[in-house]
């Protein structure tokens, strides 16, 4: 953002090995993709590669363009320029169904599930199995219930009752149900939007374990987060976004957690902030009327 830090950042183009020719091993590859909302550049020249059995992390602060990137990968928005390849083939996704059909499943932080619906209905939402024909074509409820229970158990979630509204589960469990659903429906690429953002330490650990489990199952994972600690724990590649542009791209071998954290936090900006905070006088009472208990 500032001129001072520019030389210290590695040039993103040099570190991405897949720049010139398409990477044939990549499940999903974005090459200098841009997106504009009117005259606002939401995303500019961002490159990202996702391999099977690897986790690519996208790091960035609020407003860095993470959501826009996710919306392009999951088919909610079309990109305006650059190339987007799915398994080597250049594509423009037109809607989420299109992305799903190509094996890209997205788990959103806030809109992963329908809270009032039972767990088993949520698990199969949009891909419900049916039996019978004609007017008697109906949901295969027994299969849906049984599969939901079994699949969640496989991921270590032991539900007392698959009939309970999914809104009654904890945030971490809801994320896990959404991940289990994506894995069950044969996703090749799993896009996770801030899966740990609203969670406590323990719940975050649970979710990260499932992310790693999905990776070990051979899926390519895109993990969007603003937490470099979580990213470094599981990630293989790291793309840093800042104000819609790429400010860094690393593989696990060429970056340390400290370096990642520093870049993520804005490097010199953070140092400046720490100076400011140190010098700031600490007032006894930060304004406003005295509290009720104060009067003698």
């Amino acid at each position: 953002m500032t001129a001072a830090q520019a030389p210290r950042e590695p040039d993103p183009r040099n570190t991405s090995s897949q720049d010139a020719a398409p990477d044939h091993r990549a499940l999903v590859e974005l090459d200098r993709v841009s997106k504009y909302y009117g005259n606002i550049k939401a995303l500019q020249d961002v490159s990202l590669v996702v391999h099977a059995g690897e986790i690519s992390c996208v790091l960035g602060d609020n407003g860095a363009g993470k959501s826009t990137l996710i919306k392009i990968i999951s088919g909610l928005h079309r990109h305006d320029s650059g190339t987007f390849r799915v398994e080597g083939e250049e594509t423009v996704l037109t809607n989420p169904r299109d992305a799903l059909d190509r094996g890209i499943a997205t788990v959103y932080q806030d809109l992963a599930v329908v809270p009032l619906m039972p767990v088993w209905r949520n698990f199969f939402l949009g891909s419900e199995p049916t039996k019978g024909a004609g007017p008697f074509k109906r949901l295969d409820v027994a299969l849906m219930r049984e599969t939901t229970r079994a699949e969640l158990l496989r991921m270590g979630i032991d539900l007392r009752d698959v009939d309970q509204p999914i809104g009654t589960l904890s945030g971490g469990e809801r994320q896990c149900v959404a991940i289990a659903r994506a894995v069950y429906f044969g996703a090749k690429v799993l896009v996770l939007d801030e899966p740990t953002a609203a969670l406590g330490v323990k719940q975050s650990g649970v979710v990260l374990k499932y992310v790693a489990a999905a990776r070990d199952a051979g899926l390519g994972v895109v993990l969007i987060t603003h937490n470099p600690h979580h990213a470094y724990l599981v990630g293989d590649r790291f793309v840093l976004l800042k104000r819609g542009a790429m400010s860094g791209s690393h593989t696990k071998g060429d970056v340390t957690l400290d370096e990642l954290t520093r870049q993520m936090a804005g490097g010199s900006e953070l140092e400046e902030l720490s100076h400011e905070l140190e010098r700031a006088p600490s007032p006894d009472r930060p304004g406003g009327p005295p509290a009720a208990g104060d009067t003698p």
């Binding site: 989420p96 939402l125 949009g126 891909s127 949901l139 589960l169 469990e173």
Partner: protein, 350 residues
Amino acid sequence: MTGTHPAPAPPGADERLLRTSPLRKLLGRPELGSVVGAVAVFVFFALVADSFLQTSSIGTVLYAASTIGIMAAPVALLMIGGEFDLSAGVMVTSSALVSSMFSYQMTANVWVGVFVSLLVTLGFGAFNGFMLTRTRLPSFIITLGTFLMLTGLNLGFTKLISGTVSTKGIGDMEGFASARKVFASYLTVGGVELKVTILWWAALVAVATWILIRTRFGNWIFAVGGEADAARAVGVPVIRTKIGLYLGVAFAAWVSGQHLLFSYDVVQSGEGVGNELTYIIAAVIGGCLITGGYGSAIGAAVGAIIFGMTSKGIVYAEWNPDWFKFFLGAMLLLATLLNAWVRKRAEATT
């Protein structure tokens, strides 16, 4: 509430399931508030009105319930899908007018008019659904617009064509007798005279319930009403689902409209205004959440029965019918409060 364990649970029934008693399951049903209300209303009128329990009253009450219930079933589905239809009341009248005027003007068999009316009414429904999904304006506004436009069209067209506010009689036209059999005849079941609308009503509620809880479309209805963005993200066709729901309302409006026409042989063009709220109230009493995502078609049917019992019960009790609206308002508040309370309890203790 739930645990996450690394090891799989022992096979067989989960021991924690024992805590969910059948009573609790019952309390979790969306229809509960309306059933309690229906029983209360029934007992009340059974006590205050002697003629309420006569067998002939059953047919009368059920008929009153069916005219509301036919519309309340698809309106409930629409509400579960998160939308309103304020044009549902006058659409019934429009449907009857189209049918009557087309047959009369073309001197065609009335069945031709009935069929044309079906297409036109479905067109109204499609218009509502299309406008809603295209403009993304609230359905309250869109259907309020349709409501006003249809109200105007009904009066305007009728006056233009027949010179008065009602249509010309079509009682002597070809096909009238058979159409009346289908839409407005009586059946005698066990000594009770039942109007055929009761069958239509039962069939529509059965179909609506089947769709809602046993089909993919039903799953999508809950989803688009509960969290449309989440539904869209997992590939649910949100737009098609909503348009489908409006077509459902239009179909029921067609059935009701044909009943209106063939009960007599003329249609008053100003009818139907205000009925849209009656349908919504029946659905809400029946446990439909006003914000969508929760409810049942059976609940809406019970809501319609409450309507039928109250409107006729007041007559049997020889009270001034002006009291009807007061009862209705009180019923709506009580049933909604009961529903909210029950749901809160059920969710807090699962």
